[in-house]
């Protein structure tokens, strides 16, 4: 029995190694480097509570006397704070490690929400077609005509005003995930619908209908698996987009609170001190954010090239 | 007089799993006004052989050996700009899908005029006259009116006629037609084939007809080349190939045709599939599907042997008692 399992595992590994994707990955330096960067970010974010020298969420650990210490390399640097501190005396390295985690968390969860909503709506619209399809797609059009940022600003501002700042700080992460997730589902819905329309014309779907399968079984077993490639491509881009949206919201003061900062809130937090010479408070998280976004997007570009049947084959 | 002379042509595709030779040692000639057919299954190398003449092999493929001589010039040594003066001018192409040649957003007239003006220094009005002439030559009714039409306004058969008219615009010496009737219905196919044959006769144009359909080839061409797994395995006069095939593969193909079987009986099928280019067998290319296989077939690759009117690459060719 174990031998069989081993055999299957070896088979899967063999398949992966022989796949065009693996080949392309190994022979594409950009893809490897960006994957490594993204992986490192995720690892650091997950391990943040273990490796961060301080807990940036614990106000008792800051000392205002330590405020605005520059990163090491400067004359006034302090060996306790490798990347310096912010205006409250918070360790920048710890704040950035935790902040990266929050940013990625929001990006991933918001994208998952978009994915679930968009894929369900797209599958239904595409497979059943007709009036239902027209209705759902018009809703998507309307949704898309309001930019995510606009919707998010209005909703979050209202939310902040109604529940008060205290409660807002506690539920900010949920609210942001919900807003970004709800605002961007049409991206997925449209792509999935297009895939379904293409797959519906394929004869294997007809063959499944001739067998007599239930429409939902056909959607689930025959159509959905064939939308995976484009979904993977959009998902990478959407994670990056969600992270940026969250950063923009935070920069406008509508995102994560300073007490539990994301990379965006850190940038906003340090922005006031740029002109007073404390450049690192805003620049370091900004660079961190940019590298993450660029890496994710490059990975997405590579995925798109590899999975695009028109370029490949 | 020899118009096209191809000797030992070889085309290679470098792939990630190592390079693959798509065609090997392909040699044939086309005389002025001669119609030859290249027959074979998909992947046999028939299109690659023809596209190599115009250096139109899709990347990353390249001509890795041999020489191509057209009307005294060595095509295999031409640079791209000189090649363009020959391509579409002295050698024209007709593709399976007319929409590959026709631009959907330009009218037929504009496209035809531009094809002429690309190769000739004449006025637009003169070009238009030539276009009308050629449309009449391919028997398109009310040619003058067609100039203003767009490709999508024409039926499939009409479109292929327009493509043939475009191919004739510059009075080429050679036309390469890649499956020109595969996408068409039988009744239209019959008309187009007859038209092609008549035009080649009338204007003394050479024709290379690439197809998988032995019936089509045998009606139009004077010579047939049979390709299998990237090599020529038999060539000769159409009459010889169709009635007295010497290669077991050719005979197998002919015997497998429904018209050569009593209705209701099993077709004489050739078992197995053509080897892919990655695993070309040792010895005779056909040995693993051949009924007459002997030891030597598995070891030694037979060369094309015989006379111009009929040669075959087989250790034990089929012989016919006269």
């Amino acid at each position: 029995m174990t031998e069989q399992v081993l055999l299957v595992r070896r088979n899967i590994w063999h398949r992966v190694q022989n796949s065009a994707m693996y080949y392309s990955f190994v022979h594409n330096r950009t893809a490897m480097v960006s994957a490594a960067i993204v992986f490192t970010y995720v690892l650091l974010a997950v391990l943040a509570p273990l490796i961060a020298p301080y807990n940036p969420w614990d106000l008792t650990q800051f000392d205002i006397m330590d405020s605005e210490i520059p990163p090491i390399g400067s004359v006034e640097a302090d060996s306790r704070f490798m990347l310096g501190t912010d205006a409250m005396g918070r360790d920048m390295l710890s704040a950035m490690l935790y902040g990266t985690g929050i940013s990625i968390l929001i990006g991933v969860f918001a994208t998952c929400l978009q994915l679930v909503l968009g894929v369900s709506i797209g599958l239904i619209a595409g497979y059943f077609g007709g009036r239902l399809d027209s209705f759902l797609m018009r809703v998507a059009d309307i949704q898309l005509s309001f930019t995510t940022l606009m919707v998010a600003i209005v909703v979050l501002a209202l939310f902040q005003a109604t529940v008060g700042l205290r409660l807002y700080e506690e539920f900010a992460i949920v609210a942001i995930v919900l807003v970004i997730g709800l605002a961007e589902w049409p991206q997925y819905a449209r792509t999935v619908r297009a895939c379904v329309l293409a797959a519906k014309k394929q004869e294997y779907v007809d063959a499944a209908r001739v067998i007599g399968l239930h429409p939902f079984t056909i959607i689930y077993r025959h159509i959905l698996p064939n939308t995976f490639s484009p979904l993977l491509v959009i998902s990478t881009v959407q994670v990056a987009n969600a992270i940026i949206t969250e950063a923009s919201l935070s920069f406008l003061g509508l995102g994560m609170p300073v007490t539990k900062p994301s990379l965006g809130s850190l940038i906003q937090n340090g922005f006031h001190y740029v002109f007073s010479g404390s450049w690192w408070i805003t620049t370091l998280p900004a660079i961190t954010l940019v590298i993450l976004i660029v890496a994710i997007n490059l990975l997405g570009d590579w995925l798109r090239d590899v999975l695009n049947p028109k370029i490949y084959n | 007089m020899t118009l096209l002379n191809i000797e030992n042509l070889e085309v290679t595709f470098p792939l990630r799993s190592g390079s693959v030779t798509a065609i090997r040692d392909v040699s044939f000639t086309v005389d002025q006004g001669e119609r030859i057919g290249i027959v074979g299954e998909s992947g046999a190398g028939k299109s690659v052989s023809a596209f190599a003449i115009l250096n139109l092999i899709s990347k990353p493929g390249y001509i890795s050996g041999g020489r191509i001589e057209f009307d005294g010039t060595l095509l295999s040594e031409l640079d791209e700009s000189t090649m363009q003066q020959i391509r579409g001018n002295r050698i024209s192409m007709i593709f399976q899908d007319p929409m590959m040649t026709l631009n959907p957003v330009l009218s037929i007239g504009t496209q035809m005029e531009e094809s002429i003006l690309a190769h000739r220094k004449i006025s637009r009005a003169e070009a238009r006259n030539i276009a009308v002439d050629k449309l009449r030559a391919v028997q398109i009714p009310s040619a003058q009116k067609r100039l203003k039409q767009y490709p999508h306004e024409l039926s499939g058969g009409m479109r292929q006629r327009v493509v043939i008219a475009i191919a004739l615009l510059t009075d080429p010496q050679l036309i390469i037609a890649d499956e020109p009737t595969t996408a068409l219905d039988v009744t239209i196919q019959a008309e187009i084939l007859e038209l092609l044959q008549n035009l080649c006769n009338e204007f003394n144009v050479g024709l290379i007809l690439i197809t998988h359909d032995l019936g089509v080839v045998s009606q139009v061409t004077q010579k047939i080349i049979v390709m299998y797994a990237g090599a020529i395995i038999e060539q000769g006069d159409t009459e010889n190939i169709v009635t007295r095939p010497k290669h077991h593969y050719t005979r197998g193909l002919l015997k497998a045709l429904p018209e050569n079987t009593t209705p209701g009986e099993k077709l004489n099928q050739i078992n197995g599939v053509m080897p892919t280019l990655q695993d070309i067998p040792h010895g005779c290319l056909f040995h693993n599907r051949c009924d007459m296989v002997k030891d030597v077939c598995r070891k030694v690759q037979p060369n094309l042997q015989g006379i111009a009117s009929h040669s075959v690459a087989c250790h034990f060719p089929i012989s016919y008692e006269e």
């Binding site: 394929q202 001739v210 429409p215 | 039988v186 084939l193 045998s218 009606q219 099928q269």
Partner: protein, 338 residues
């Protein structure tokens, strides 16, 4: 012993496709008035067809004549606009999906494009298991797998290939798997829609022989849809010739190929490229094929027919019995002009 029972029958089958797009595309302003115009492709215009048990009925015609639509409508992939389809005398065209299930095991379909007819994300054995498992949910996996193995062997596929994906297999083998999928539920009737036209010449014979063997061993009935007339002559027991959504001639293969009656059938048969016969004297038809949107009045063939008279432009010819086996829809033959 031939059982001449009618297995599948269509009566006055019509199928129109709306190609005018959404409501906004249909509206246009003509002479200062808003008009709504609906463009219909009249794919089938009253198809009466009977498939007898045990036969191979070949449905031939040129592209766009509606032959594929007939097959897909019979299989329930397209709802007919009007008309009836019956299977062993039971009407099936208006049944719901669940009430159609028993017929799904008896009627199967083989598709033209073997690339598109196999799901690229499924292995061969998953593709073959799906239909039997669905129709026999109580059978054990071992039993079902045994069945898959048996059918794979019967279509000439090594059962070891079960773990492969469709893109790892050649075209001929893929078509064998498509055939295997149809055979998995032990059907009686198979619609084969151009099953060999996408294949290479040397493979076509293999697949055709396989279909013939399956018919002999399992007593199958085929509706064989094709444009390749030389295949028809070999494989079909009866032929139905279609033109622009109507049937113009039905009869025994040998009779139709020996002495075609309908002018269109005559033109069609004369166009078959035959080996070695340079310049076959094919009958040239006048004019162009009309589109199925603007269907000609009367006989759909009248504008291309050399024998057409006034009546052909106004009256639709009915399929009339010429003999017990053959039926022709032509005024000229009915009134013996030619």
């Amino acid at each position: 012993m031939r059982n001449e029972m009618t297995l599948v029958r269509t009566q006055k089958l019509f199928k129109y496709f709306n190609v005018s797009g959404g409501l906004l595309d249909q509206l246009s302003v003509q002479n200062g008035r808003l008009k709504r115009q609906v463009d219909l492709v009249k794919a089938l215009n009253g198809i009466d067809l009977s498939v007898h048990s045990g036969e191979v009925l070949c449905l031939v015609g040129e592209s766009g004549c509606g032959k594929t639509t007939v097959g897909r409508t019979i299989m329930g992939l397209l709802p007919p606009s009007s008309g009836e389809i019956s299977y062993r005398g039971e009407r099936i065209d208006h049944l719901s999906r669940s009430r159609l299930l028993p017929y799904r095991q008896k009627m199967q379909m083989i598709f033209q494009n073997s690339y598109a007819s196999l799901n690229p994300r499924k292995t061969v054995s998953a593709t073959l298991l799906e239909p039997v498992r669905f129709h026999n949910p109580r059978h054990s996996t071992a039993e079902l797998k045994e069945k898959v193995k048996e059918v794979m062997e019967s279509v000439g596929i090594d059962p070891k290939w079960g773990a492969r994906y469709s893109h790892e297999i050649s075209g001929g083998q893929r078509q064998r798997i498509s055939i295997a999928r149809a055979l998995m539920v032990d059907p009686e009737f198979i619609v084969a829609d151009e099953p060999i036209s996408a294949l290479d010449v040397s493979i076509q014979a293999q697949i055709l022989n396989l279909l013939g063997d399956a018919r002999e061993q399992r007593g199958l009935t085929y509706l064989f849809i094709t444009h390749d007339l030389s295949v028809v002559e070999h494989f079909g027991t009866r032929v139905a010739v279609m033109y622009l959504g109507r049937i113009c001639e039905v009869g025994k293969t040998s009779e139709i190929f020996g002495a075609p009656r309908h002018p269109y059938t005559q033109a069609l048969l004369s166009a078959i490229p035959k080996l070695g016969k340079q310049k076959s004297p094919h009958i040239r038809m006048r004019g162009e094929v009309p589109t199925a949107i603007d269907l000609p009045s009367g006989c759909v063939f009248h504008n291309r027919c050399a024998h057409a008279k006034e009546i052909c432009k106004t009256d639709v010819p009915e399929l009339k019995n010429e003999s017990s086996e053959a039926q022709v829809a032509c005024h000229g033959i009915e009134h013996s002009w030619f």
